[in-house]
């Protein structure tokens, strides 16, 4: 037994010089493992009368324990699999290095981080807090501008806050003002955005925003699906699978306005001709952009339609319908988590299309197109 110990130590001396046997009777070793310049104490106990690493146990210092928290099982498994100490130590060292770099990037916040934050929120008013993430690292505050439009400003706090400034950004339509600003405190951020930006600098955006609000309220906006204050593009439905994309320019809201028509050429070209014919009538600045487009195109934009959201779960997963040639979805996937219904005829049609399906008499064995679990169907007469 003693011989093995010495052999192991010699073998590992080069890479792990800080390992010594700690007990005369029991095969156990104490030592340090050096990872990124830090020495972590640990102990390994082997089972009596066994030369391998089977049933070996690893004990570590609190620091090591904290590092490997959550990885104990994998480590124990590895310990049992490894043929030699060297192999295991290399693994352990790799794992610890990885975990240490991870830990470094995620340090804990400053001592008075939370107390400062709470005090500041008290002073600006909790009603301004719109959302925050569980670690309180990112917050969003809501502010109202001169015409009552609500804006969100996004604050991200460094862990060294309040020593280092926080980063604030607001969703504004110009690239220059969307860039993040550094602020000393939340109060500064609120006063900066509510006094300077939202009342003076942003006055010029009011026109653009009112135009966009008008579009959002009176048309069926396809994209973006949740417009932000910084989004200047709207794609709106015209019906018949055609759409119109309007892009406003924040710096010249009354000047250039870019548009683009999407859809089948046969339906789009008459609209394009109307635009060319009527463009010079766009003189009425009392009307909104939407109203001007409606006048030019000689149509009214369809407003939001509610989709007939027929319960997808009762529809056949292949033909996307409920009733198909007088049959209803009469088969479903047996996997409880999937349970996708199919028409027997649709499923049969799919299964016979792919070569991996096996047939036994008139039963077909294949896989559910949704969850890939085994599924069977029988031949249909149609």
């Amino acid at each position: 037994m003693k011989y093995t110990i010495i052999q192991i130590i010699l073998m590992d001396a080069k890479n792990f010089p800080l390992l010594v046997p700690s007990d005369v009777d029991e095969p156990s070793y104490c030592g340090f493992i050096t990872v990124k310049g830090q020495e972590l104490a640990f102990q390994i106990k082997l089972e009596n009368n066994s030369t391998g690493l089977k049933n070996a146990k690893l004990y570590g210092s609190p620091k090591l324990k904290r590092l490997i928290f959550g990885h104990e099982k994998a480590l124990q498994q590895r310990l049992e699999q490894c043929a030699s100490f060297s192999e295991f130590f290399v693994d352990l060292k790799d794992l610890l290095e990885l975990l240490m770099t991870k830990e470094k990037t995620d340090p804990s916040p400053c001592e008075n981080y939370y107390s400062t934050l709470i005090n500041e929120l008290n002073s600006i008013g909790w009603d301004k807090l719109e959302a925050f993430n569980p670690s309180l690292k990112n917050l969003s505050l809501k502010l109202n501008d001169s015409s009552g439009r609500q804006h969100s400003i996004f604050v991200s706090l460094p862990f060294s806050y309040p020593q280092t400034p926080l980063i604030v950004h607001a969703e504004l339509p110009t690239p220059s003002s969307t860039t993040s600003n550094h602020m000393a405190s939340l109060k500064d951020a609120v006063s900066f955005y509510s006094k300077v930006s939202l009342d003076k600098e942003l006055e010029k955006f009011q026109y653009v925003w009112s135009m966009l609000d008008d579009i959002d309220a009176h048309t069926w906006v396809l994209e973006p699906c949740k417009p932000k204050r910084s989004d200047l593009i709207r794609r709106i439905a015209l019906g018949n699978h055609c759409s119109l994309q309007i892009e406003l320019d924040a710096s010249y809201p009354k000047g250039e306005c870019q548009y683009r028509l999407f859809g089948t050429e046969s339906l789009i070209s008459p609209l394009r001709e109307k635009i060319i014919k009527n463009w010079n009538t766009w003189l009425n600045f009392d009307l909104t952009i939407r109203q001007n487009f409606e006048n030019i195109l000689e149509i009214t934009f369809p407003s939001t339609q509610t989709i007939s959201t027929s319960d997808i779960n009762i529809e056949c997963g292949i033909c996307y319908s409920y009733r198909h040639e007088d049959s209803l979805p009469d088969q479903s996937c047996n996997n409880a988590k999937c349970g996708q219904p199919f028409h027997r005829s649709c499923l049969y049609e799919w299964l016979r299309s792919i070569p991996s399906t096996k047939q036994s008499f008139n039963t077909f064995f294949g896989n559910c197109p949704y969850c890939n679990d085994a599924i069977t169907t029988t031949i249909c007469d149609q």
């Binding site: 396809l222 994209e223 699906c225 794609r235 439905a237 699978h241 055609c242 759409s243 892009e247 009354k254 000047g255 250039e256 306005c257 870019q258 548009y259 683009r260 028509l261 999407f262 859809g263 089948t264 050429e265 394009r272 635009i275 463009w279 766009w282 952009i289 001007n292 989709i307 529809e315 997963g317 292949i318 033909c319 996307y320 319908s321 198909h324 040639e325 996708q340 005829s345 649709c346 049609e349 799919w350 299309s353 792919i354 070569p355 991996s356 197109p369 949704y370």
Partner: protein, 163 residues
């Protein structure tokens, strides 16, 4: 003659494309019998195709959805998985056992996969070997060439006029 499952399926797919399109995609039918669509894909952000608008021809076979849709780039694109005439090498566009098309996919999800392929080329299953090896070995040259091609072919002029 299309099969009995074709029309109900296409009707629903049209609804999906119109009401809930994949982000950055406009897709509309080109003919009245729903066998041909035109998709316009905005080049994905942080890719060399950014700011470009790529037209894709989508053909729906009569046995759809038992067979995959056929998709082909109309706008030239410099990409390891797309050849000179716009044919696309994407496993979900092929039938099993070589491909992985399933009727649980649809035009919308297939177009989403196409965007992902644009953003993240697959050089291990290339259609154009030279571009694939360039992508692997000389990324900056690839990015430059892809960007140049985007600027050359995919910058469709927007209609614009003074108000």
């Amino acid at each position: 003659m299309s099969s009995s499952y074709f029309l109900p399926r296409m009707k629903r797919e049209l609804e999906i494309l119109e009401h809930d399109p994949p982000p950055g995609v406009v897709c509309y039918p080109v003919d009245s019998n729903l066998t041909r669509f035109c998709a316009q894909i905005k080049g994905p952000k942080d890719s060399p195709y950014e700011d470009g608008m790529f037209k894709v021809d989508v053909q729906i076979p009569a046995r759809y959805p038992m067979e995959p849709p056929r998709m082909q780039f109309i706008t030239p694109i410099y990409h390891p998985n797309v050849d000179d005439v716009g044919r696309i090498c994407l496993d979900i566009l092929k039938m099993p056992p070589n491909g992985s098309w399933k009727p649980s996919l649809n035009i919308s999800t297939t177009l989403t996969s196409l965007i992902i392929l644009m953003a993240d080329p697959n050089p291990d299953d290339p259609l154009l070997v030279e571009i694939a090896s360039e992508f692997k070995e000389n990324r900056s040259l690839f990015l430059q060439k892809a960007k140049d091609a985007t600027l050359k072919y995919a910058m469709e002029e927007k209609d614009s006029s003074a108000q």
